[in-house]
């Protein structure tokens, strides 16, 4: 059969996908064409919704972000049965994130979780340890920044993260709240938990960074802006996804060889722990596909352990198959992955499953509240109180 798969993946990612499809074609005889999409996830999401709403039969398989599955659940085929055999090879949290009610909406391709990037050289120079709590991070960052500035390195900042009002901020803030033991905004059972003391403390901590250890402009930063500052050697710490690892080791990067990664710091108080928002991409099969069987076959192929292994080796994407973290070939190709296994232990999903179709709006309300807090527009407590009411209205 002829299939088409839509993918917002990027340059080398597309090449890799093509090579996988070639293998698939060899094995099954199905011909698959790729429909590339812009890398902007919100552009992709809008398009997919429209296409699915109109029952577009031109696309068989969609590549979806973790948070989309529940929102588009109605229009995707249930993969539970087909996936049943291999389900327990994967991280349960990942499978859980793609399950709506009883339906497995998408099967994982790879996963993603952020880490704390730090400057080995600077920590050594100033005799500091890798911080394990946010308070430590703030103090260490502050001290090193001041010392460096005194030495004439005026451009340097302590910490950069993703502070712009967008999905990235939801990820960051979820990590702060969760690491302070403040829950997951909306719990799996649907209760709205965000308005609590721990969450307030977490946001207050974060707000204290802006303008001190982080530039004011961090409020407009996405992943790339943060990486830009970091890669020029102008930040001591950075929160970012694994993709930055290879780039920061590029030949023209000022930080090449001088950095390492660690789990994000933990908060303080009851239930404090390190936590990392779960990212990653999946494959889902359109309900309107005219070749559902073949399409399911394709989705399963792309999430299979073999495919994930090749992906891990060639693309340095984090597999969802647990056993691959011990695989020698994988570790040989991407040694840093070892570090991520620990990070995964603390992975926390965004509340897309309990909120279903409303996730995007929930996320938008959340990041707005957080952004307001960071930019000094209302206190954390006030903003979270209002947020609770808004969420309540939305989800009632």
């Amino acid at each position: 059969a002829e299939l088409s798969i839509v993918s917002g993946d990027t340059g080398t990612g597309l090449q890799f996908l093509q090579s996988e499809l070639d293998i698939f074609q060899e094995e099954t005889g199905h011909v698959v064409t790729i429909v590339p999409m812009p890398s902007s996830t919100s552009d992709q999401f809008g398009q997919y919704r429209l296409w699915l709403a109109a029952g577009n039969a031109d696309i068989d398989v969609y590549q979806t972000d973790v948070i989309w599955a529940p929102q588009l659940a109605d229009q995707f085929v249930d993969l539970k049965e087909a996936f049943a055999e291999v389900a327990d090879q994967h991280f349960p949290s990942v499978i859980e994130s793609q399950t709506v009610g009883d339906k497995l909406v998408a099967v994982p391709a790879f996963t993603d979780a952020p880490a704390l990037y730090y400057r080995k050289d600077l920590l050594e120079k100033h005799g500091k340890e890798v911080p394990t709590t946010w308070t430590e991070l703030r103090q260490t960052a502050q001290e090193i920044m001041e010392a460096e500035r005194a030495e004439g390195n005026t451009e340097i900042w302590g910490y950069v993260f993703q502070g712009n009002a967008y999905e990235g901020l939801t990820c960051n803030a979820l990590e702060w709240v969760n690491s302070f033991g403040g829950g997951q905004i909306i719990e799996a059972d649907g209760t709205i938990s965000i308005n609590n003391e721990q969450a307030v403390a977490a946001l207050e901590e974060a707000a204290s960074w802006v303008g001190t250890i982080a530039p004011q402009g961090v409020l407009a930063y996405g992943e790339e802006e943060a990486r830009g500052v970091w890669q020029l050697g102008n930040a001591v710490f950075m929160r970012n996804w694994p993709y930055a690892y290879a780039l920061s080791n590029g030949d023209d990067a000022a930080v090449k060889g001088n950095f390492d990664v660690a789990p994000l710091p933990a908060g303080e108080g009851e239930g404090a722990k390190s936590s990392a928002t779960l990212g990653g991409w999946n494959f889902a099969v359109s309900q309107y596909s005219q070749n559902q069987e073949a399409a399911i076959e394709l989705a399963l192929f792309l999430s299979s352990a073999e495919s994930q292994k090749r992906r891990a080796i060639e693309q340095a994407n984090l597999p969802t198959v647990q056993s691959l973290y011990q695989d020698e070939e994988v570790l040989a190709a991407s040694p840093f992955m070892a570090a991520w296994e620990e990070i995964f232990q603390n992975a926390v999903p965004r509340p897309s499953a309990p909120t279903q179709e409303n996730y995007n709006e929930v996320s938008s309300l959340f990041w707005s509240a957080v952004h307001n807090t960071l930019s000094g527009n209302g206190s954390a407590a006030e903003n979270l109180e209002v947020l609770e009411i808004d969420l309540d209205d939305l989800l009632q």
Binding site: F45, N164, G217, A220, E357, E361
Partner: protein, 326 residues
């Protein structure tokens, strides 16, 4: 001036015997208008009708065809809770919507105002005789020729606080003490959007004004010179009144565009409440959130707002509809 605008009967007494010539012309007119009307009806009429229809239903993108009619619920709903409290729901009761309305109006006003002023200055410069006018004219048009999604990205790059050249320039020239995160800070986000939009569309305005300027007879300026009219006065008392018709048409198309501004803001400051306009908020509801019907209602309201503005403008501005027919 709008003597036979909207629907006024034209020639009261039609000639008793319509000649072949008149018949031929009317036939041709019908024939000529038909393809355009069909094209517009299909390409715009149906989608418009659908959008307006959806705004009165509970449609969601997951279930477009199962939409049910709910009347004005998306616009305004009055609900009395069990506790006896009355609450208002719907777009018209949504502060985010009113914020968007305010942003849109503010944006349209300032951008069109500055585009008009700057466009006028540029047009006056281009209207003067000087060496190299052709090249300058082409250079002026460059901002207008660059795709919006590209220029928006270009500017977001230039406005960046760390590697943006504008902050660097500002600091070098001593205009700024510290880099400003133009698109991030709610205080400057609107300013940033305005600057980019003005930069981009001033050439459009300048071009249309220039066309108007070229229609003004030169000898009037000589008469003014003999009357001893100061150049500044010449501009306000002569140029401006005479270029007005061209200006009015240019402004109307610009305002229509500005009120619908979407892509620039979507790329430059996608989620900033300080710049979220009606188009952006309705796009969000239509495609990002699960509020297709509400988004449709917002689009419809935007359409209404623009229509009201246009009618007011044409009425107050006495824009001439009438043709120079025979």
């Amino acid at each position: 001036m709008t003597s036979e605008a909207i629907g006024a009967p034209t020639a009261a007494a039609q000639p008793r015997q319509k000649s072949e010539l008149m018949q031929q012309r009317v036939r041709a007119a019908r024939l000529f208008l038909l393809p355009m009307m069909i094209a517009l009806a299909v390409v715009a009429g149906w989608p418009l009708a659908r959008s307006i229809y959806f705004s009165f239903t509970d449609a969601t993108l997951n279930d477009l065809y199962g939409a049910e009619w709910i009347g004005f619920g998306n616009y305004l709903q009055i609900r009395v809770l069990e506790s006896g409290r009355t609450i208002y729901r719907g777009v018209l009761a949504d502060p985010a919507w009113w914020n968007a309305v305010w942003n849109t109006v503010r944006f349209a006003f300032w951008s069109v105002l500055w585009e008009t002023i700057l466009g006028m200055i540029v047009a006056l410069v281009l209207n003067a005789e000087f060496k190299g006018r052709g090249i300058v004219r082409a250079a002026i048009l460059i901002p207008w020729a660059i795709p919006t999604i590209v220029s928006a990205r270009m500017w977001s790059w230039m406005l960046n606080d760390q590697f943006g050249i504008l902050n660097d320039l500002g600091m070098r020239l001593g205009l700024l003490n510290a880099p400003v995160a133009w698109t991030a800070s709610p205080d400057t986000a609107m300013l940033a959007v305005l600057v980019v939009d003005i930069w981009k569309t001033t050439p459009f305005m300048a071009l249309l004004i220039l066309a108007g300027l070229q229609m003004i007879p030169k000898d009037i300026y000589e008469a003014a010179e003999i009357d001893g009219v100061h150049p500044v006065k010449q501009f306000f008392r002569i140029t401006l009144p005479l270029v007005r018709p061209a200006l009015m048409v240019a402004i109307i198309f610009r305002v229509l565009d500005a009120l619908r501004i979407f892509d620039l803001i979507y790329v430059l400051t996608p989620n900033s409440a300080a710049t979220k306009t009606m188009s952006v908020i309705s796009q969000e509801n239509l495609f990002q959130f699960n509020n297709f019907a509400e988004g449709s209602a917002q689009s419809t309201l935007l359409f209404l707002l623009i229509a009201i503005f246009t009618i007011l403008y044409i009425w107050l501005g006495k824009v001439n509809f009438d043709g120079g027919d025979r």
